[in-house]
Assembly symmetry: D2
Homo-oligomer: 245 residues x 4
């Protein structure tokens, strides 16, 4: 595991982008990257967009969402893809042929599609304050899960509901790449910024691997890079976490 | 995970050796391989010995034991290293400078030494009928463990005792690279042969990841190759395990 | 450059095969190998055939010929492919979909086809007593040539003629992957055996790069492995060639 | 060869830096980069300096100069290293232990030192209007040269002389890594900017490999990336050079 602490969120965005660009510049073949939506990657995409937009030399980049909350009984694209389009795909003018949608209909073929495409070169992901990553929330997926459907209980539906304007749109389930799917990627890049993530980053780095904090399983990956800003690192008690081991 | 089923144990030995030789021929820099003692690798070493003995072009190969049962209050080398010397190091004339001993005294520095040497390019390991790998027996190490000392209860001491002629030599502990250490390697090569391993291979491939079967955690590694002969594969019920996914 | 000197031709065949198998076991994706026909690789294929025949786990291997002497005005497959089929493809039961034929009709698309397939992971090639490699004989191709047609003068036609029973079959040209095509591969494995090759191996290793000895340009490749037996190494005057530098 | 054309010099600096950072983020082990002095890389270093300065997570970066014009009979550091210190090492606060000086005294050990350090992961180099690269000017080094001393005739001394204030400081020779040394690197990144380089870039990309234009030999490298701005690309007549092949 390599731990990088940046001065601020701006540097985090730049360094995470440089990791992704590093993958893109490392070979001429297709590069497959699964990338996160949400608030954490905003600075990453802000930096990355002008670096990739309209660049013919980056036309071999292929992007995947790793989870999705679909609209109930609607053909609208789900929450994650809609967010990624606004955050990154549209501003970066990523061609549709380079965007590989995971949704509530096709999730069962996700791992096979990715395998046939050569596997994921990298996954850019965040970590929730509750230790979740992708859609692997505490109590949802098991460690054996590949891409799977998670049925939502009322509590989860309430949580998910905040993404939707219409109650009728709130789905009964969401889909996510599970622990096995994510661990199969060649490189994991976990990002966290801000005081709000300080506690979970302390737990992530200093406490035991536990199903209660799903992201902790990622510490077993042979090629995990953790990038956090000083604020997210501010609760750490052990300085030897910083660097690489 | 890539699953290779060989016709027989002889082919298993050859194919596993070819994987190790592949690592050795892939670069001129130092190659670090952690290798297993015991009965499973006998055919691997039988094949490998003439391939490496006296070959100047393989002088960049470095070997590590990943566990050790030391002699109690004795300077004698432990059970694992003694076995590896007989099985492989002596017949293959591996120079002492290419052999990196893990023992009861130096185990706390093992992960740091390996890290500074560039990390493990590969681990050749077997799986016990009880699902153990290296010295990670059910109920001994935790998922967070790097190289660690395992204190032996009476049951364990009885089990270990069979390696020793003198009761006074039986130690109170053994050391092993733990799950975190093994998962940090770039490539895991898990070998299993014979009817005796058919049941555990079925469980390993078809059942859930579980602390009760420690080796199952290795299914999360992004670069795991499983090599077994037809006998060890004879209990499998799902044919899609064969191949890669 | 890495120089490996084997005890005998049998070991050369085994070590060269192990290099090829190393490439095949290094990834699950398609592996592209361009391989030589002729007498030098006979022992390589003899060793390799049982290692690959019928192995489902090597179904991702793809093979290319790098030159071809076509039959004049005939639909018969050319000399090189016919030889490769007898030497290797048939005995190893390589599926037709894994054999990528270069011939007098399609040579202009060869480099593009290979590029789109991901590039060559390795080229197994020999060296002629006159310093030629593939169809890059002295005075034929230029250093800028990719896959190209070489028009044969009478002297060349006489030389080529010995491959054919009927004079009418002798072509006016042959095709070959040129220096630029071969240098584009990720790994070059040059093999030479026997006293007959001792002089050219001395020149290759000890003399200057020269168009008069076309293979010498390969010494500029960042990943060249030379495998020769003691007989082919018997004229070498400088011992520091042995090993790597 | 991969050809990247950037909108302007600023983008060239950024993209070239991203290539170097990609190497640095691709592994935790030591990364060896040989980098150019002079005017072409000014924008690269301008961009790179804040990215690397004071970053503990980039402490595994090691830098090499690939040529040097020494002060005659003086202990002063040569022209290249002095320039690199001003351009990059000092502003980026690169530790002295990460700077590997090539000079008039130690040049004979350069290739061995680099080999023992694991080889060059990348070389960032420019191209002269006369087609030179590093110190491989037309008529100086031969294609077989590794790191070598080039004796200067009067014309060369006049050319070199412009670097020096005192005539007495002008040396009789300079040292450079030769074609064999540069071609041994795993990745070559050739940069060119401005109208002044348009003619040589046209010749480099469109004309034959020739000793008269030493840099053209680099087109034989299996992993060459050419980065130039629109101005440097403005004389190109063939659009298919843009992209990769």
């Amino acid at each position: 595991m390599r731990v990088i602490v940046t001065e601020n969120y701006e540097e985090l965005g730049k360094v995470a982008s440089q990791h992704l660009l590093g993958h893109l510049f490392s070979k001429q073949d297709r590069v497959n990257l699964a990338i996160t939506a949400g608030t954490t990657p905003v600075e990453v995409y802000r930096y990355l967009i002008p670096e990739v937009k309209g660049k013919a030399y980056l036309s071999h980049a292929h992007f995947y969402n790793f989870d999705e909350i679909p609209y109930k009984e609607s053909q609208r694209e789900g929450i994650t893809m809609s967010d990624l389009r606004e955050l990154f795909f549209k501003p970066a003018a990523i061609p549709e042929t380079s965007i590989h949608v995971l949704d509530g209909q096709n999730y069962q073929g996700q791992d096979q599609r990715i395998h046939q495409a050569g596997g994921l070169d990298g996954v850019l992901l965040g970590i929730g304050a509750d230790g979740h990553y992708c859609g692997n929330l505490p109590g949802t997926t098991t460690i054996d899960d590949q891409t799977t459907k998670v049925i939502c209980d009322d509590q989860m539906k309430a949580r998910i509901g905040r993404h939707f304007e219409e109650a009728a749109d709130v789905p009964d389930y969401y889909v996510t790449m599970g622990p096995k799917s994510i661990m199969a990627a060649r490189h994991l890049i976990l990002i966290a910024n801000g005081k709000r993530k300080a506690d979970i980053m302390r737990k992530f780095l200093e406490e035991e691997i536990s199903l209660a904090l799903p992201a902790t399983i990622l510490k077993l990956h042979p090629n995990l890079t953790v990038i956090m800003d000083r604020e997210a690192a501010s609760d750490l008690t052990k300085s030897d976490e910083l660097g690489s081991n």
